[in-house]
């Protein structure tokens, strides 16, 4: 009887351990340029997106003559809303790499949408206000994050394992490296 109990407890612990090994984990990290924290860095892991759920609504706001956020990371196939929350007209366009479009002028309270259908960086501008600029990085991955003002980021719900990561920030090169997701080691990204 006691022996059977020990076998049962051992089995439960073994199963729990195995389940913990497969459960998605969070991958925290920090991005730096030299020793300085780097905000607005995009970090993504190479992974399949086939089994991921539908993308959520993503907004790149226009408010106070600025795009918000300044850097946006999305999965390939995501439709981004560009609402105009200023009383003046805006004219969002992107003519360089990545998605190329020109939304034309539209007034306060209205929204236009753009679907980012392929991987790459899109530089977003307003043709009326030269100081408005933003970046949209479309990635073939469901695991990505943008660093905050202290350079920290958190990639959620990553199955444990070893991945190839890529990292980019405005004006910088794309870094590539290896990241192990085990619930213990944070990912440190450092540009020289």
């Amino acid at each position: 009887m006691i022996r059977a109990l020990f076998v049962m407890i051992g089995g439960v612990l073994l199963l729990a351990s195995a389940a913990r090994g497969l459960a998605p984990l969070e991958l925290p990290g920090v991005a730096r340029v030299g020793d300085r924290p780097k905000p607005n860095a995009v970090v993504w892991l190479e992974s399949s997106v086939a089994s991921l759920p539908e993308t959520v609504k993503v907004v790149l706001d226009q408010r106070n003559l600025a795009f918000s956020p300044h850097v946006l990371a999305v999965r390939v196939g995501t439709t981004v809303e560009f609402p105009n929350n200023d009383r003046v007209f805006h004219n969002v366009f992107s003519f360089h790499d990545g998605k190329r479009f020109d939304l034309g002028m539209y007034p306060v309270g209205t929204v236009k949408n753009v679907t980012f259908g392929r991987q790459g960086l899109s530089r977003i501008f307003c043709n009326i206000h030269p100081n408005m600029a933003a970046y949209v990085m479309a990635v073939e991955s469901g695991h990505f994050a943008v660093s905050d003002s202290s350079g920290r980021f958190l990639i959620a719900a990553v199955p444990p394992g070893t991945y190839t990561y890529h990292a980019w920030h405005p004006g910088g090169p794309t870094l590539t490296g290896s990241a192990t997701v085990d619930g213990e080691r944070p990912l440190e990204i450092r540009w020289p």
Binding site: N64, M105, P107, P130
Partner: protein
């Protein structure tokens, strides 16, 4: 008032920091220009804007500009060039969007909301001169007309009514006389079209000794855009003061196609008629072809070639205007 605004602007420029995000943004533009109208110009604008408490936003702008010529409208697209330091706009505003409705309230000093009137519509848009019907010396409206008052928008984003009640607060050499004035505007937006109808009743900007009565204008403005092609224009008619009339129009084509990269090509055709006794009447037309080129590091180059005809005083028939602007934003 002017000193207080300048202190705030300079403080904003010095203390703006990334940690404050969008709560405070400061920016500056510096422009140098040359026209074969024998005009050289230098201009600078300082702006600060952002959020205050309870959803109220603020906007401050000051400008200084000077040009060497007395008898040309070159570079007077949206700012005066009198060599004075001027407060342009100073206002607070609040937007409400209950359901699908739009309500906006603005109070302070702001550009007269008649027709295509925004700073971004006329400054650094690719045109280095204001339209003839929006230059203060031609007995019509002016892009340097400002209001001290309250402006309210009510409607939905696709169709709203804007009402401004206040007193003139113009900058530049031509200032309207003081007194109550009002502006009404209806704007509709659908698909690729934006259409507006505006009406203003205000005081003349000419001396009272010969300009009696009220200045009153009605205008229609239209914008159409499709895949980097923008066509826009305005037509106005009215009287600058009793016994005279002014009418005119301009039509702009602005091309900014994907293959054009940083270049926006611009084309403007326009006409102005100031109808009074023959000795003082003005009947003039102008054709402008040009480009705006976004260069790296915050620089924008603009070039305009103008072809003018008519009896507008003191002009050359084919002036060439060139300008280079440096823009910087400090968050």
């Amino acid at each position: 008032m002017k000193r207080a605004v300048l202190v705030v602007l300079l403080t904003a420029v010095v203390h703006a920091s990334p940690a404050r995000g969008q709560s405070l943004t400061a920016e500056a533009d510096v422009t140098v220009g040359y026209s074969t109208d024998d005009v050289t110009a230098v201009a600078t604008q300082l702006r600060a804007f952002g959020d205050l408490k309870a959803g109220v936003r603020f906007y401050l702008e000051s400008a200084w500009a000077r040009h060497s010529g007395e008898e040309s409208d070159a570079f007077a697209g949206a700012y005066p060039y009198g060599g004075h330091l001027d407060v342009i706009e100073t206002y607070g505003e609040r937007l409400f969007m209950p359901g699908k409705s739009l309500i906006a309230v603005r109070g302070g000093r702001y550009r007269t909301p008649f027709g295509i009137a925004g700073r971004g519509d006329h400054a650094y848009s690719g045109f280095l001169r204001s339209p003839l019907i929006r230059y203060d010396d031609y007995f019509a409206l002016s892009n340097t007309f400002l209001e001290h008052g309250v402006d309210v928008i009510v409607g939905v984003p696709q169709l709203y009514v804007e009402t401004s009640l206040g007193v003139p607060a113009d900058v530049g050499d031509e200032k309207r006389r003081s007194g109550f004035d009002r502006v009404f505007r209806v704007q509709g937006y659908r698909g690729q079209w934006i259409v507006g109808v505006s009406h203003i009743r205000t005081r003349p900007n000419q001396p009272e000794s010969f300009a009696h009565g009220r200045a009153e204008f009605t205008g229609i403005d239209v914008r159409w855009m499709h895949e980097g092609v923008l066509v826009r224009g305005e037509w106005i008619t009215g009287q600058p003061f009793d016994g005279t009339t002014t009418d005119g129009w301009y039509a702009d084509l602005m091309l900014h196609r994907v293959a054009m990269g940083p270049v926006t090509a611009v084309l403007r055709a326009e006409q102005l008629n100031y109808n009074t006794i023959a000795q003082f009447a003005i009947h003039t037309t102008r054709l402008t072809v040009g480009a705006k080129i976004r260069l790296p590091r915050g620089l924008t180059a603009q070039v305009n070639l103008n072809r003018q005809s008519g009896n507008r005083p003191a002009y050359r028939s084919t002036p060439l205007d060139l300008a280079l602007t440096y823009s910087i934003r400090l968050h």
